[in-house]
Symmetry: D3
Subunit: 137 residues, 6 copies
């Protein structure tokens, strides 16, 4: 499996980095201004990478319309224009972008067959990003 | 005056578009998902455009370090990693990006002399932006 | 009127630069490889700039959903995934990006009131763009 | 081998997604507006990734001028400002971007020695891309 | 005159900001690390904006090949892969990007007729840029 | 280990590609205009990729403030606004971007524990980049 198809999606959401398992001082020390009490937000860029053979008849790795529908119904509907803390989307888990990235991967895994979900990348700002991936072989 | 210096700054903040002067239905109709109760957020790109003659001795329109300090103390400190509604930064005014753009202009006007503040541009996402400007002559 | 709202839209289309009023040699000399017989294509970025006062109640220059609908029905439906020559969208006029830019301006003028259509910008590639505008005052 | 050199090239071309092995309805269902009869086009960004040891004397993985010449003569000359269907560049194969990506890889493999061609990436629009690669070890 | 054509060019050059009319301390205070003795460098993006009527026959504001040749021979040849100080390109003038921008404008003015040179924009980094312009009317 | 955190940093520096082990003609043939006697410069984008498990308590792969401090003190302070040749940062080694990339990797390896430094990528211009990496497993 050596062909990959990647597609970008945009999400605007807000979050606050705060762990109930830590003291107020620890939260401030670890998360800095990301711990500000009323939160802040980002335009997240979610990039989904699918891999598989190029279909001999259609010339495609994955049907883009089907991928878009899977991402819309499972990811965009869930996270776009939401507050990752107050809308209770992450339960006990701190809604860092690492955890958002992992959540997107888990929500999409198995949903784009016969293609394989290879990696999810989330850009939090133009200067930092996160990647979560299965083995790329 | 025909030379301009522009500089980009990044802000991450959250907001909710909601007007107390409107009914719940009107708010939903006008603002759509931007009216979701717990808000959402953006990476705002704030671009400040300064104009003036090129100083014959220094070759500069405006001293960049002085501009950075003005923007940091008046704009970044105020809005970065904040919630534009709950941190009470806009009073009765709906914190649309139009109004954020105008607020940045007002906070910086007169603060970068002898250069003139020509325009403030705020990109809300990679697909939309706002500009507020004095006359560019 | 000093506040502006700009929004980007994407169009994929093909075109061939060829004028029936010119000889084959003239066409080749003026348009170069853009005159290749079967055409080529671009991802056009169409940026619409609307201007007007910021509404005191809503805090907006123009309703984004209404703008999106005007652009979708008048511009995207017409040009996206089309061949600007063979789909007969430009009649006798050569479908240069200058003329595409002007056509978009004409199709949108008057359609986003009370805001004013200030300028249309079309990026043909990451290295060149065209702007067509009414007076920006 | 752990050092890589990547370089971007731009191509403007048009294509129509249509398989003669499928009915008109099937073509429309699978390819959507990409099946429009007169085609459309893109600014393809072709990114070539070469790998190999850093030469101790020159400090380079691959000579950039030699790479540019290989890409120009084998890829740009062939595909730039062309119609991927009507210029008969893909024979029976549907000119999806997956297949374009694979064709670029095949055209360059072995042509940049002693460096190894590691991967070809083709961006079709700012929102989707394809990668075709040998094993990256 | 309401149609504009813009085109981007890349230049890599080095410079040191230092004025012989100032003391060492003044130079350091005004220019900061840009005054470091051996200089530094940038990938300058030079954007040339030409304006004029859209030619009724060709559909173009300016012939792109002619513009490219004017920029290549007058600007790229002069500044690309050069040291703006040691290659003595600016004489007594400090090679700030403001002055580079003005120099590019002066070198191109009158060279792209019948189109009019409307503005030159030089991006020094992704975070700052300079514009020098004639009246845009 | 399947989670990664990447972060971008900007460096402006100048360099000249020239090897004392080669003749003047050889230098000119291999490096072209990059061998111009007084050098030139770039805005280097340095992207650092760290990998490791997502900490169950903090939700982070690596503390961003700690990473920023390591990069600032070891890389930015050393290379930013410097001349890679005349400031004697590379000794006998030609300061190609391949070698800069490798130097950044060596300076950061072991400095961001418990996360692992997975890869350093340096973009020299918007059209070319280099990557140097440990095994990504």
């Amino acid at each position: 499996m050596k062909a990959y198809f990647g597609r970008r999606y945009l999400l605007s959401a807000s979050h606050r980095l705060h762990s109930d398992a830590l003291s107020a001082e620890q939260n401030r020390a670890i998360y800095g201004k990301c711990n500000n009490p009323h939160g802040h937000g980002h335009n997240y860029v979610v990039e989904v990478l699918a891999g598989g053979p190029v279909d001999a008849e259609t010339g495609m790795v994955v049907n883009m319309a089907a991928l878009d529908e899977a991402v819309r119904s499972r990811v965009i509907e869930r996270f776009d224009h939401r507050n990752l803390n107050l809308d209770l989307l992450f339960g006990e888990v701190v809604p860092t972008t690492e955890n958002l990235c992992r959540a997107v991967f888990d929500l999409l895994e198995g949903a784009i067959e016969p293609a394989k979900l290879v990696q999810v990348r989330v850009e939090e700002t133009e200067n930092n990003f996160f990647e979560y991936s299965g083995a790329r072989s």
